[in-house]
Structures are given as structure tokens and as C-alpha cells.
């Protein structure tokens, strides 16, 4: 393996693991925000209690998932400078701006507000607490927007000119409205909502299959999950197809692989544009990933479409195998989305910035030994964290709403009968 291969493996592996947590974060946060809003504005006290438990249960799973999303994201921010310093040398003037704006506009706010939301239970006014989770949701999607703007520039560079071998930003609006970025953003946002919806529906169905007594809570969750995933999985396919003309216009090789047309002609077209060289990526990877995504996407879309009708009279969860089927499809959107990224990223090789800078030319001058060590360290840590995190999510998902620690007022030793504690702030009935 060359240094460039190692740097690529490191980036691909860490980004993929990071993405698996990002997609669930993006998918769950609007659902949790909707639940929290409904809970906060329910008058009926019994109903409000159920909805609040619902918010805390799903919020708990969301927050556990977010933990690994944020720590792996920390590494991503440094990867470009660590292993790909050629990118900042060539495109720093253009590519750096969206990344800087992502941290300042979106990520800063997302993390701060989430911290306040987690610790705000019972401490913040209800309305403000609800606004916080909506701000977290909004900034999560803003974050995705800027990252996709940066990624879109790598896929299809626009809004710049090259002087003396360095790219300069000339048209920020073109950079931001890059069709390659915007259509992909819509596609992944819908994919994330599909993932979140299926996650909620699948876990709710599992609890029904196990004969839960929390029928009201899980029925409501199941409905929300099935509807969200049905609608978004329908549109994710439509929006996904909107990318085809964009790809055909800007990435002839990828288009030839996906459409099954003449690769040699596309290769000749690239040679004519960029000089002699081999412009073919791993074609079978691109093709197979595309097929995988398409098959899984259509499967999920079909199942959720049928599931919507089976929501009537709880038909979906009366038959145990049907309920388990909903649980079993939880991993599918994750796998499909990784397939989608494989198509997008492998399909543009050998380019880092399409038509301008190759991956091989961008790799940092770092010794192979350092890269072997860092690659091994990051992959080992990320995999261990992913497995640990999914184990925890599974455990808390199975435990049900009683196990949620988020916002739970644990009975303190002093509150238990017989402990007799006259501690600082005794709860006094408020008038």
C-alpha cells in the first residue's frame, strides 16, 4: 500500500463510521423535536406525561447516538490538514470557506444548544426548552448544508478561477448554489429522515411484539415513524434520480458506469479534457454500490408504503412476524446510504477536486510509518466506539421508557422514606 492508499483508507473508514452516526442524528432530531413540542403543548395532564416520557425515551437514544457522532466529527475536521495538505495548498481559498462557516454558523450552535437541552430538563422554562431542541435540529441541517457545499466543490468545482496553480474564490453564490451540492443535500436529508423513521418504527414494533404495556406511547411513536419513513423514502428515490442529469453533465465516467454505456468513450473524453492518464475508478465497486442502494431503497419504500395501511387498527403489530419485520429493516437505510456515498466518492476517483487536483497529488508529505500507525489507531478506536455505542443504543431501546436517564429525576436518598434529609432545597409546593 502506498502512502496515498493508506491516507485514503483512513479517510474512507473514519468518514463512513462518522456518517453512520450522522445519518441517525439527522433522522432522529426532527422527530424528537416534534415529540417534545407536542408534549409541551398538551393540556391533558395524563397525555402530557405519556408524551414527555416518549420525548425522553427517544431523546435518550438520540443523545447516545450523538456522542459518537460528535467525537468522530472532531477527527474529520482535522483530516484534511493531516493527510491532504495538497488540498489546502490548491483549494484552501475556496474549500476552506464553507468548512469555516459550518463550524461557526452551525456546529458551534448545535453542540451548545444540545448541551443546554440535555441539562435543561426541569431547569428551563418549557417553551425555551422546546426552542432549544428545534435550534439543534435546524443547526444539524445547516451543518449538512455547508458540508455538502464543500463536498459539492470537490465533485464539481464552481465559482473559482485558477491563477498560478492556485484556486481563488470568484463567485460565492455559484459555490453555494452548486447543483451537485443542493440535489445531494436533499437526497441525504430525505435518506436521514427515512433512517430515523424506520428506527423509531422498528423499535416501537419490537416493543409491541414483546407485549409492552406502554401501548399509547409506542402506538404514537410507531405512527410517526412509519409516516415519516414512508414519505421520505418515497421522495428520496425521486430526488436521487434528479442527480442523474447533473452527473451526466459533469462526471462522464461515473455517468457511463451508472448508465452502463461505453466506458472507453468516456475515458477518451476525459483524456481529451485533462491529458493522458487512467481516469477509471474501481468500476465494479461503483456499480455494485449503486445496485445495493437502489434495491435497499426500493425495499424500504415498498415496506413502509404497505405499513402505512397496516397502521389501521394496529394490524402492523398484531402479527408478531410483521412487527419483527419492521425491526429487522432498521439497518437497511444505513447500508443503503453508505452505498450511496461509495458511488459518489469512489465514482469521482482519481480526482480529489474534479478535473483539477488528483488524490495522489494532494496527499501530505507524511512518513508511511506514521500513516500506518494513525490508520490503525483511528480505525480501531472508531470501530470499538461504534460497536460500544450500538450496544448501548440497543440496551436502552430494549429497556423502554422506564430506563431513560435523560431528564429523569432520580429519587434522591433523602427523598426516600426513612432517610429523613433536610437538604438544602426541599421541594415546596409552588403557589
Amino acid at each position: 500500500m502506498s502512502a496515498a492508499d493508506l491516507a485514503r483508507l483512513q479517510f474512507a473508514a473514519t468518514t463512513s463510521v462518522h456518517w453512520l452516526f450522522v445519518i441517525l442524528t439527522m433522522g432522529l432530531v426532527p422527530i424528537v423535536a416534534i415529540m417534545h413540542t407536542r408534549a409541551a403543548y398538551t393540556r391533558d395532564l395524563a397525555k402530557r406525561a405519556v408524551r414527555e416520557r416518549m420525548t425522553r425515551f427517544w431523546g435518550q437514544l438520540y443523545v447516545i447516538n450523538y456522542a459518537v457522532g460528535i467525537v468522530t466529527g472532531l477527527v474529520m475536521e482535522f483530516q484534511f490538514g493531516l493527510s491532504w495538505s495538497g488540498l489546502s495548498k490548491f483549494a484552501g481559498n475556496v474549500f476552506g470557506a464553507p468548512l469555516a462557516l459550518e463550524t461557526l454558523i452551525a456546529f458551534f450552535a448545535e453542540s451548545t444548544f444540545l448541551g443546554m437541552w440535555i441539562f435543561g430538563w426541569g431547569r428551563m422554562r418549557r417553551g425555551i426548552h422546546v426552542v432549544l431542541i428545534w435550534l439543534v435540529a435546524l443547526t444539524a441541517y445547516l451543518s449538512a448544508f455547508w458540508i455538502l457545499v464543500a463536498n459539492g466543490f470537490l465533485q464539481h468545482p464552481v465559482g473559482y478561477e485558477v491563477r498560478d496553480g492556485v484556486a481563488y474564490l470568484t463567485d460565492f453564490w455559484a459555490l453555494v448554489t452548486n447543483a451537485n451540492a443542493q440535489v445531494a443535500l436533499a437526497h441525504i436529508a430525505l435518506a436521514a429522515l427515512t433512517t430515523g423513521g424506520i428506527f423509531v418504527a422498528g423499535i416501537s414494533a419490537w416493543h409491541f411484539a414483546k407485549g409492552t404495556r406502554e401501548t399509547e406511547l409506542f402506538r404514537s411513536s410507531l405512527r410517526l415513524g412509519v409516516w415519516v419513513s414512508m414519505l421520505s423514502s418515497f421522495f428520496v428515490i425521486i430526488v436521487g434520480n434528479l442527480q442523474v442529469p447533473v452527473i451526466e453533465k459533469t462526471q462522464p465516467i461515473k455517468a457511463a458506469i451508472l448508465n452502463g454505456t461505453d466506458l472507453a468513450a468516456a475515458q477518451a473524453q476525459e483524456v481529451a479534457a485533462h491529458g493522458p492518464g487512467d481516469y477509471l475508478p474501481w468500476t465494479s465497486w461503483v456499480k455494485n454500490s449503486m445496485d445495493l442502494m437502489t434495491i435497499l431503497g426500493n425495499t424500504v419504500s415498498t415496506i413502509t408504503f404497505i405499513a402505512v395501511f397496516l397502521l389501521l387498527k394496529d394490524l402492523l403489530v398484531r402479527k408478531r412476524w410483521l412487527a419483527y419485520l419492521m425491526t429487522a429493516i432498521i439497518p437497511l437505510p444505513f447500508i443503503a446510504s453508505v452505498g450511496g456515498w461509495m458511488v459518489r466518492e469512489i465514482g469521482r476517483q482519481p480526482w480529489l477536486v474534479y478535473g483539477q487536483l488528483t488524490v495522489d497529488d494532494a496527499v501530505s508529505n507524511v512518513s508511511k510509518g506514521s500513516l500506518v500507525v494513525s490508520c490503525a489507531v483511528f480505525i480501531a478506536i472508531f470501530l470499538a466506539l461504534a460497536v460500544t455505542n450500538w450496544t448501548l443504543i440497543t440496551r436502552f431501546a430494549r429497556r423502554g421508557p422506564d430506563g431513560a436517564q435523560l431528564g429523569a429525576g432520580d429519587p434522591l436518598p433523602d427523598d426516600l422514606p426513612g432517610a429523613g434529609g433536610a437538604d438544602e432545597k426541599q421541594r415546596v409546593p409552588a403557589f
Partner: protein, 360 residues
């Protein structure tokens, strides 16, 4: 003020903000085994043994319920603190792209170690409360400490290398080897920074915890700050004999170093007198000033080479068009960031108690 200087100031602000906020997180993490017990203070119903334990000044670590006073103190701010580092990296990429590529790839092994420590430590803080069983708790608690100590030492070494100068290859790229990372001056800076962050963390725990824990934290913090001062003195000594920092602006550097020492002394003094707010203010200054020391002491170099020369502000900065675009966002967003971060500090002010919401 030119746009360049403005962005340099913002970059410095973000790094200094990260050192101050991340610094007390790492300090509290390192001290979590010593300041963990939530009821280190004498309680009316506590037996003589418990009171003796509190009298010794050091708690018994994490309580039986899994709560840890030091980690409770930082909990509501933790997620908002780490962001400063990410924002620093983002702004460095946006406004100083040529520094970003050279600095991060040049200090590759150190940055990888910092990131590995951060990932493990941050995950441990957020997930330790979710796991059951004594063995899992032990592993998470060890990772919490490692995730504080490893970045603290490595950031200190980075500061040391930036003060000393980083070796450069013939093709102009920077690189560090084991000999540079474990050199006497770099290591001294690493130890000094770890002690400083630990003392700073103790000052924060003193400010935010229950009286019992606060007393223990003050005592521990004063010792740690004194030790940080001693390590700083050793670094100065090495520099005087030519084996340490080589600054482009000696006068400025001496003044800034004297300010760091004064801040350390003030922190030590106020901790001894239970003036928690003043002590914490002093340790904040002591953690922020090293950033200014690098920026102002090495000006115009952002990354100086050990053989002289280096990457200047002009070499590193992005094109004027990019800077102008970014500043349009910056003038709106940066005050907003300070505003909502200030709001979160205000919302969770006051000392933690057993009725304080605990989650991590």
C-alpha cells in the same frame, strides 16, 4: 486594522477560548479520581470516618451511584467547550489554509495523539453513565482521565515546539520526529501545560462544587499551580541557555511570560484564600496567555522553522476575496456565538448539588 489582523485575532481568540474552556475540562477529567466524591464535605448525618475522610481533603473518587463531582461540575458546558477546537480548525482552514496544511501534517504524530485522546475521553464522558457494571465503569473512568491527560500533555508539547521552532525538510514541508517531541524543552512544556490545566480544572471545580469538594479542590489546585510554575521556570531556564524557546520578539515574549507567571501566582494566592471567582479568573488568564505568547512572540511567523524563517501571516492567509466574504459572516456570527455561549454559562451558573440535574 487590516482584515488579516482581524482574522488572526479571531483565530487566536478561538484557540485561547479552547485552551481556557477545554483546559478546565481536561483538568477536571484528570482530577476526577481525586475530586470525585460528591459528599467530600462533612454532612450532619455522616459518621466520624466520613468526616475524617473529608478532613483529609481528598474524596474517595466516584460515588456508589456513579456520580462524580468533578465531572458534574463541567457537565452542562462540556459539549459547548469542545466546539471551540473544531471552530479553531475550521477558521484556520478558511482564513489561513496554508498554515492548516503545514501545521497539521508537520505535527502529524502529536495531532493524531491529541485526537485519539479527545475521541476516547469525550466518548467516555458522554457514555460512562450509560453503562452498568463495575468493570465497565473502571474502563470508562480510566478513559476519562486518559482523555484529559493525553491532549493536555500533547498540546503543551505543541506549544513548546511552536515556541522553539519546527524542523523543516529540504522541500519546505515541516515534520517532527521522536527526538523533537521528547526533547527536554518540549517535554517540559508538556508537563507544565498538563499541570496548568489540572490546576485550572481544580479552580473550576472549586468554583462550582459543593463546599466539601470545593475545599479539596482549592488545596489540590494550589499545589498544582505551584508545580506548573516550577515547570514553567525550568522551561525559562532552558530557553536562557539556548535549548528552549527562540522568539522573534524577545521583549514582548518576556512581558507575556511574566504575565503568565503573575497569573499563576495570583491563582495560587486566591485559591489559598477561598476567593474562587478571582482564582478562576487568574487561571483562565494563565491558560489563555500562552496562545498570545505564540502569536505575538513569534510575529510575523505563525509557524517558525527551527533553522530560522518559517510561515508568516502573509504566507498563510487566504486570498483577500475569501477573507472579505468570511468577515461578512463573521461580524454577525461571532458576537452571536459569544452571546449564546454566555447564555449557557449563565443558565447553569451556581454550585452543583445533589439536586442538580446529572446526566453524564
Amino acid at each position: 486594522m487590516s482584515l488579516e489582523t482581524l482574522w488572526l485575532a479571531l483565530l487566536g481568540l478561538l484557540l485561547a477560548g479552547y485552551f481556557v474552556l477545554g483546559g478546565y475540562d481536561y483538568g477536571a477529567q484528570m482530577l476526577s479520581p481525586f475530586l470525585g466524591s460528591a459528599d467530600a464535605g462533612p454532612r450532619p448525618d455522616a459518621g466520624p470516618a466520613a468526616r475524617a475522610g473529608a478532613g483529609s481533603g481528598i474524596g474517595t473518587g466516584t460515588g456508589p451511584d456513579g456520580r462524580n463531582a468533578a465531572l458534574d461540575a463541567i457537565a452542562p458546558f462540556f459539549l459547548g467547550n469542545e466546539v471551540w477546537l473544531v471552530a479553531f480548525a475550521g477558521v484556520m482552514f478558511g482564513a489561513f489554509p496554508h498554515l492548516e496544511g503545514s501545521l497539521l501534517s508537520g505535527l502529524y504524530p502529536l495531532i493524531v495523539a491529541i485526537l485519539a485522546g479527545l475521541v476516547l475521553g469525550n466518548a467516555a464522558i458522554q457514555l460512562r453513565g450509560r453503562s452498568r457494571g463495575a468493570r465497565a465503569a473502571k474502563v470508562w473512568n480510566a478513559l476519562v482521565v486518559l482523555g484529559g491527560a493525553l491532549p493536555a500533555v500533547c498540546w503543551g508539547i505543541v506549544v513548546g515546539l511552536l515556541l522553539h521552532g519546527v524542523p523543516r525538510r529540504a522541500d519546505g514541508s515541516f515534520h517532527v520526529g521522536a527526538g523533537d517531541v521528547f526533547g527536554p524543552f518540549a517535554l517540559t512544556c508538556g508537563v507544565a501545560t498538563a499541570l496548568l490545566f489540572a490546576g485550572h480544572g481544580a479552580a473550576f471545580v472549586a468554583l462550582r462544587s459543593e463546599p466539601g469538594t470545593a475545599t479539596a479542590a482549592r488545596r489540590l489546585g494550589a499545589t498544582l499551580l505551584a508545580a506548573a510554575g516550577a515547570a514553567g521556570a525550568l522551561a525559562l531556564l532552558l530557553s536562557v541557555f539556548g535549548a528552549g524557546a527562540s522568539m522573534t520578539r524577545t521583549g514582548t515574549s518576556v512581558v507575556l511570560f511574566a504575565l503568565v507567571v503573575a497569573a499563576l501566582a495570583a491563582g495560587w494566592w486566591f485559591l489559598g484564600r477561598s476567593r474562587d471567582t478571582l482564582a478562576f479568573t487568574a487561571t483562565c488568564l494563565a491558560t489563555a496567555l500562552p496562545v498570545l505568547l505564540i502569536g505575538a512572540g513569534q510575529y510575523p511567523y505563525l509557524l517558525s522553522a527551527s533553522a530560522g524563517g518559517g510561515i508568516t501571516v502573509d504566507d498563510a492567509v487566504a486570498d483577500g476575496a475569501t477573507l472579505k466574504l468570511l468577515i461578512g459572516f463573521g461580524v454577525v456570527v461571532v458576537p452571536l456565538i459569544l452571546l449564546y455561549q454566555g447564555w449557557s454559562w449563565w443558565a447553569f451558573r451556581g454550585r452543583t448539588g445533589r439536586r442538580h440535574p446529572s446526566y453524564f
